[in-house]
């Protein structure tokens, strides 16, 4: 980290939306039939009912373990740092500004006058208590997010984080679980039960959580953002089965459902009382590779696999053409996207065969994949099996149900490749660190995939200057792409459906809806 950056005032002055992000956002609007932004005057009131796909793993941000929790956590917890919906660039939240006076120090200035739902102050001391808890508590799942933090002090409105090494990813890390501020008083009083008795500083206050049934929240009348939130209450109805969830919206029992599969677009279009919206996300469908052992420790074989895949056809067949084909790990709308690496491997079975032969597999190769037994996943597997077969790669899949699938590949080291997804992180360095870092859980081989990778990874967190970071990510992604450490396929689109009375919703690049600006008609 070099020069001081990211003052709130500075952010707003330069907080323009980049061209490609603007195009992406407009695309989402257009697909929603122009109903997304041009929606009249926002009106407060009403109860928003959302069909949620999963029961929260916990309502304590520190102990939860599922990416699907965020949608339920955001309404109750405001974060220290927020992000721009279109680009995921950091912007002020509870922390009104932050500076880095030297490369290993980050100073957050906490906004004045914010209170938790229990009436206690959300000040620098509370922020420090939250961060220390996340770093040290035995039940914390996010210790590694704050792994570079050495010491935290609070003074006046400032919270100072002393770091072990430069870490420019921290601001965006503080827009995730680590930055969701909980009332220290409530945490102390509830102990382990805080999982089920959350007290944050967000737009809505927790009312009740019936496990696997619903989470109910009511408006926080003392919310610090003027005029927000608009809905009087939010209820998340837990409906894991997507078709059932969509039926609940069509029948008018719920108002909103998010992250549907593209195959459901036709169903939404047929329902006259429901609108839909599609937006880009960071959710990358990809084949993870265990490059720690033969045959995929051979770069030629990995490159052959990348050339063997026809991403455009995969998109058409599995996603109705609504997804974004890619050979890199960040979508077009993201600030660190590298256009020339997004189409690096074009479909070329002949070249794939040649590379296999160069790698010592002139008679083709047998690979075992690991993936899910769900219908849509099986469909994707069958497409890939057929595509790579044309290049002499005989791919078969071993299928599992639910979380054991991940364990089979990442912990038990079964299979050569793993067809799954990466849901993205607010700061892209975490994505790369988690997937390719030496010893990382999501790096099945656990080793360094390519020379210079670790150094390139560190470089992405060394400076807070956006241009410097972009250059560092370009170099890192180039190493990942050229050494074919992953087989990225497409970025899954965010497809949401909502009743006609819902207005003001905007999709975000993270693909995890926020409802602060949503208002209801009638």
């Amino acid at each position: 980290m070099n020069a001081p950056t990211h003052h709130a005032q500075e952010y707003h002055a330069s907080g323009r939306i980049e061209r490609r992000a603007f195009v992406a956002l407009m695309g989402a609007t257009a697909l929603a039939g122009g109903d997304a932004l041009a929606q009249g005057t926002p009106k407060p009131g009403g109860k928003l009912r959302v069909s949620a796909q999963g029961n929260p793993s916990s309502l304590d941000p520190m102990t939860g373990n599922s990416g699907s929790d965020h949608v339920v956590l955001y309404p109750m917890y405001d974060t220290l740092v927020e992000w721009d919906y279109a680009t995921l660039q950091a912007k002020p939240g509870i922390a009104e500004s932050w500076i880095d006076p030297d490369p290993t120090t980050l100073v957050l200035t906490i906004r004045d006058g914010i209170t938790f739902h229990d009436g206690t102050k959300c000040d620098a001391a509370a922020v420090r208590a939250n961060l220390v808890r996340a770093m040290t508590h035995e039940r914390s799942n996010i210790k590694s997010d704050l792994g570079t933090v050495k010491e935290i002090t609070a003074s006046g409105r400032n919270v100072t984080l002393k770091l072990k090494q430069p870490d420019s990813a921290l601001p965006l890390i503080l827009s995730d679980r680590a930055g969701m501020m909980c009332s220290p008083k409530a945490m102390e009083e509830s102990g382990r039960d805080y999982d089920r008795k959350p007290v944050g500083a967000g737009g809505w206050k927790f009312v009740s959580w019936a496990d696997n049934e619903n989470v109910v929240m009511t408006r926080n009348e003392h919310y610090w953002k003027p005029g927000r939130p608009l809905a009087d209450a939010v209820t998340f109805q837990v409906i894991p089965e997507l078709n059932t969830g969509l039926r609940s919206v069509t029948a008018g029992q719920n108002d909103f459902i998010y992250f549907l599969v593209p195959q459901q677009k036709a169903l939404i279009d047929r329902a006259r009382n429901v609108s839909s919206m599609i937006g880009p996300t960071m959710w990358c469908i990809q084949m993870y590779i265990n490059y720690g052992r033969p045959p995929l420790d051979n770069v030629k074989v990995r490159q052959a696999l990348n050339f063997a895949v026809n991403r455009d056809e995969f998109n058409k067949a599995a996603f109705g053409g609504l997804a974004e084909p890619t050979t890199m790990l960040l979508p077009k709308a993201h600030w660190a996207h590298v256009a020339e690496l997004a189409n690096y491997y074009t479909h070329d079975p002949e070249r794939a065969r040649k590379l296999l032969a160069e790698g010592g597999y002139s008679n083709g190769i047998d690979l075992v994949g690991i993936s899910y037994s769900e219908q849509l996943s099986v469909q994707q597997q069958e497409i890939l099996i057929e595509q790579v077969r044309q290049a002499g790669i005989r791919l078969t899949f071993k299928r599992f149900t639910g979380p054991p699938t991940t364990t089979a590949f990442l912990a038990e080291k079964q299979g050569d490749v793993f067809l799954s997804a990466w849901t993205g992180r607010p700061d892209p360095s975490l994505t790369y660190q988690l997937m390719f870092g030496v010893g990382s859980y999501y790096n099945a081989g656990r080793g360094e995939g390519a020379p210079g990778l670790t150094e390139a990874l560190l470089a992405t967190r060394a400076s807070s200057n956006l241009d410097v970071r972009k250059a560092a990510f370009r170099k890192l992604q180039q190493i990942v792409t050229e050494h074919a450490l992953m087989v990225p396929l497409v970025f899954r689109p965010e497809l949401d459906a909502f009743g006609k009375r819902v207005h003001g919703y905007r999709p975000n690049l993270l693909g995890k809806p926020k409802f602060t600006d949503v208002w209801l008609e009638g």
């Binding site: 029961n55 929260p56 793993s57 916990s58 102990t63 939860g64 373990n65 599922s66 990416g67 035995e138 039940r139 799942n141 996010i142 210790k143 590694s144 997010d145 382990r192 039960d193 999982d195 089920r196 019936a210 496990d211 696997n212 049934e213 109805q237 837990v238 409906i239 894991p240 089965e241 059932t244 969830g245 039926r247 609940s248 069509t250 029948a251 029992q253 599992f400 149900t401 639910g402 979380p403 054991p404 699938t405 991940t406 364990t407 089979a408 990442l410 912990a411 038990e412 849901t423 010893g439 990382s440 859980y441 999501y442």
Partner: protein, 320 residues
């Protein structure tokens, strides 16, 4: 004195079965869950997994203990009515069960009621008109009901009566304790979908049992004595098939409890079925064990009630 009463002895025998059956059932389920691939510690770490964190969780939740030690801990706590907490949501399992059981019970009760109220008249109608068009129609409906997948019927019902006509809700449930009228209204469509197979089973069993009774020699004698067909059917025929009907009800109740798993998923009903399916997928042992524990008690209780009813309908059963 009371202990010598045949009916009480029978109840005592059923109660004595509870402990060994619970131990056996939960031990088998625990063993099967252990054989399922996957590491619950990795699941608990979720998207934030690191090798270190997974190892910490394994120790924290006692998952590093030997299989028998883990089972013994669960059993010991269960014996003290502590069914532990869900690994996933940290909610006490007993609370989860008490919260969800009434919803599933209402669904099963409604389905049983529909099965019997439709199945019994149709069964009688078919048995008293053997070989007629009515009999053919009823047996055809019954065969259709057996063959019909409940989830398919459920979706057809939702599309017609919820989405098109708007008469019933498409998803969800309301607890009996909150609003009994609304609870039944929400339960109608899922109960009909669940009852289709049960209704067919009642028809088929009742029809064949009643045909056998009505063709027996003592019924012929009753006819010879000049009793009306209605009196023969209601006073003698149905009384003799009551044991068969009770057996069907007992088996049907257990089957409906199992079938509720699918229907709860289609209608997004927060009941026991959906709970145990989700828990089994993520290997949430305490929840699965707790549900098995509750189910064993329920099934034994149902069997006990059926046995008692047997003795009321046919006192010879108790004497045997």
């Amino acid at each position: 004195m009371l202990a010598n009463h045949p009916r009480l002895r029978m109840v005592g025998r059923r109660l004595a079965q509870i402990v060994p059956v619970i131990v056996l059932a939960t031990f088998i389920v625990f063993g099967l869950l252990k054989l399922v691939p996957g590491d619950v510690a990795a699941t608990l770490a979720g998207e934030y997994a690191t090798d270190e964190r997974v190892a910490q969780i394994r120790v924290a939740y006692g998952l590093d203990q030997p299989f028998l030690v883990q089972y013994w801990h669960w059993l010991w706590n269960a014996a003290h009515l502590d069914l532990s907490r869900s690994f996933m949501s940290n909610e006490p399992v007993l609370d989860q069960i008490l919260h969800r059981f009434p919803t599933t019970l209402l669904l099963v009760f409604c389905a049983l009621l529909i099965s019997l109220s439709v199945g019994v008249p149709l069964g009688i109608l078919a048995a008293t008109r053997v070989g007629s068009r009515v009999d053919v129609a009823v047996t055809s409906i019954a065969s259709f009901g057996v063959a019909l997948p409940s989830f398919w019927l459920a979706m057809i019902l939702v599309a017609t009566f919820s989405l098109s006509l708007g008469w019933f809700p498409a998803t969800g449930a309301v607890r009996w304790s909150v609003d009994p009228r609304l609870a039944v209204w929400y339960a109608v469509l899922p109960a009909v979908a669940l009852a289709a197979g049960g209704m067919a089973e009642v028809v088929r069993q009742l029809r064949s049992a009643l045909i056998e009774v009505l063709a027996s020699q003592y019924v012929r004698t009753l006819y010879a004595k000049g009793l009306s067909p209605t009196a023969i059917l209601w006073k003698h025929g149905l009384k003799n098939v009551a044991v068969t009907l009770l057996t069907v009800i007992g088996l049907l109740t257990s089957r409906l409890l199992g079938g509720a798993v699918v229907i709860e998923a289609v209608f997004a009903i927060p009941g026991m079925g959906s709970m145990v399916v989700r828990a089994a997928i993520v290997k949430d042992f305490p929840v699965v064990q707790g549900v098995v524990f509750a189910m064993v008690i329920l099934v034994i209780a149902i069997n006990m009630v059926i046995d008692v009813l047997y003795t009321l309908v046919d006192p010879r059963v108790a004497l045997k």
